[in-house]
Amino acid sequence: MKLTKTALIGLGIAGALGASPVLAADQYVGMPSYRVGPYAAGGSGIFGGMIDYFQMINARDGGVNGVKLTWEECETEYNNARGVECYERMKKNGPTGNTVFHPLSTGITYSVIDRATADRIPVISVGYGRTDASDGRVFPYIFPLITNYWSQNTVKIKFIGMKEGGMDKLKGKKIVNLYHDSAYGKETIPVLDVQAKMYGFTVTHLAVAHPGNEQQSQWLQIRQIKPDWVILRGWGVMNPTALKTAAKVGFPRNKVLGVWWSGAEEDVIPAGSAATGYIAAGFNVSGTNYPVMKDIQKYVVAKGKSNMEDKSRVGSAYYNRGVVHGILTVEAIRNAQEKFGKGKSITGEQMRWGIENLDLDDKKIKALGATGFLPPLHVSCSNHEGSGLVKFQRWDGKQWKVITDWIQSDQKIVRPMVEESAAKYAKEKGLKLRDCSKEG
């Protein structure tokens, strides 16, 4: 595990002065990162972006109201057992224990739900994890922030409707859902089935066995089905393989619509020209032309302090997603400090309040230099998702180009499904629903 740079510098200066190390208040974030293994591109990009954002806040603002951010990495290799081990290893570190846990893995998220709730450490799973945890009455410490998988899927169908000339034009259309044969991949099957009934399209679910480096049979079936659109729900090597095989069977890539875990540079570059025209959803965008990114360039990258080994990845989809993780974490800490005391280290329980009362409207997002970079967000006791907005990007062969504004998800479909699923979980676990009217 890496010790944080801040802590090391502090100890070093104190040691040099021959005094006992008196550290200013700091806020510790334990990071279960993965920088090796099959999903290292995602892990290194997202944790790299989050760390660079933390570094920028420390360098530019002196931390959050003077409280320096510190962090520690623990390698999970995207493995559930290691994720739990890292959680346990880091939960008591720092002056107030681990402030927040970012599993960056749906599997690890599921594995730590009970522990984190018992330990009162909030878990943030931005755009992944357990969808029904959006119901904060059942999952007080779990926050699938911004947009969960079901919301995202309703936006995808909306996008297809827009492209076809209206939602009524979906009747009779054929959609194939090509998914990674895992819990993550299967997560959107129920919502797609509900939407198919509602709008009159047919949906065929085709599974791809892990890791997805062979998809000839699925794409030959797709050619037989002759769908109007293919929804790609891949991860890792499954994504470029899907695009390459689509080209091999002659399926147009501008009719392939990917989830955000299929929408990074690492998913399209290996596919070469086969990826041109492919469209992916996103709750964040690529690029460096945002004030927040310019500050990271100025205070971190230009000074040679970036966590990224490959500086060309600064501004990539994964890196920027990490910056979004950083923004959400820092703003929740700031929010908690407003209530529990500025300039003090907050506890996990206080952080939970900070996240649950996070309100990032357009004005605040503009002040953060992130207009258009992430959507507005309003989290509450009952709504741990907070947004439900999605943008779409198209790969032009060299870079992602944003092709829509934020599109609102269909909460009329999603919310009842979330509440039904969460209520079932609560019943199984014997949990009593929180009364949000009494929460302050």
Binding site: R35, V36, G37, P38, Y39, A40, A41, S44, D181, H205, L206, A207, V208, A209, H210, P211, N213, E214, Q216, S217, Q218, L220, Q221, R223, Q224, G236, V237, P240, T241, K244, A247, K248, V249, G250, E266, I269, P270, A271, G272, A274, E309, D310, R313
Partner: protein, 297 residues
């Protein structure tokens, strides 16, 4: 019917890609009786080294030569550090050593070149040939045909090497009995270095082909999983068996996925190949081309 033949041909050509990886296993098993669990890691190491050197601005063939040189160095170091101390140890010990070696090579590759995903273009398009589409209504990929050609060349070269050269015969002698081979003056250490270097070459070719198809990334290590049922069917000691096994596995898993998959929820390719291999094991445990061992009691 066209669709069936398209699935079949696609499967056979995919099987050739599996056979490319399986060949590396066969070489080492044939020459040393060791099942090299590190072969998948070697494919990853070779491809990552090759593409990283190319990204430094080195042209294709010099980069290939440099990557090959790195595989030779890896072979020499493996022989010196891992194999030599384990001469005459039970085969299970050598097998366990290759498991450790696999993890070491994976870490070494990522430590040297990073864990980023790389695209690799070798100038062969992975698109259907217009002529076969127009005349037969069957899509056959140019890239897959090229891979089949590469495999054919590789198999021919290896068959000649094993059967017609002194080194090849020495390799087979070592595989039969380490001590007997040493007793008649065959230099065991040199033989192991040679065979691991040749397996490194095969890993490089397989890595370049798979890398060009799906990108050079850690998932290359998983292609070894596809090679195992191929070996069970073809036999661990037969170069030709690797190809035949690859064709059987490729065709059966594709036909299984398309025609059986929808009945059981799909995504069966991963285990279907192993099920076919298991059925072969029941009927012919040594594989189609494997040597039948008879022990006298």
């Amino acid at each position: 019917m066209n669709f069936f033949f398209e699935v079949l041909i696609g499967g056979l050509l995919s099987g050739v890609m599996y056979a490319l990886v399986a060949l590396g296993f066969v070489l080492i098993y044939k020459a040393s009786g060791v099942f090299n669990f590190a072969q998948g890691a070697m494919v990853f190491f070779a491809a990552l080294t090759f593409v990283s050197i190319m990204e430094l601005g080195v042209p294709f063939w010099p980069a290939f030569a440099l990557a090959l040189a790195s595989m030779v160095v890896l072979a020499v170091v493996t022989e010196r550090v891992v194999l030599r101390p384990l001469v005459n140890q039970p085969q299970i010990t050598l097998f366990m050593a290759t498991i450790g070696l696999g993890f070491l090579i994976e870490g070494l590759a990522q430590g040297m070149w990073g864990a980023a995903v790389h695209g690799l273009e070798i100038g062969i398009v992975d698109e259907p040939i217009a002529w076969t589409m127009d005349n037969w209504g069957i899509g056959v990929s140019t890239f897959d045909l090229f891979a089949a050609g590469v495999s054919a060349v590789l198999v021919t070269v290896l068959a000649v090497f094993f059967n017609k050269t002194r080194v090849g015969r020495a390799l087979r002698a070592v595989a039969d009995d380490h001590q007997a081979a040493l007793a008649i003056g065959i230099p065991l250490q040199s033989i192991w270095r040679i065979v691991w270097a040749v397996a490194g070459f095969v890993a490089l070719v397989a890595g370049v082909m798979w890398g060009a198809r799906n990108g050079v990334q850690f998932a290359l290590t998983f292609v070894a999983l596809k090679a195992l049922p191929v070996l069970i069917i073809g036999g661990f000691e037969s170069v030709a068996g690797a190809i035949v096994g690859g064709l059987i596995i490729g065709a059966s898993e594709k036909i299984g996925e398309v025609y059986v998959g929808p009945l059981v929820g799909g995504g069966i390719e991963g285990w279907f190949a192993y099920m076919v291999a298991l059925l072969f094991l029941l009927v012919r445990p040594e594989g189609l081309f494997g040597e039948k061992h008879i022990d006298r009691v």
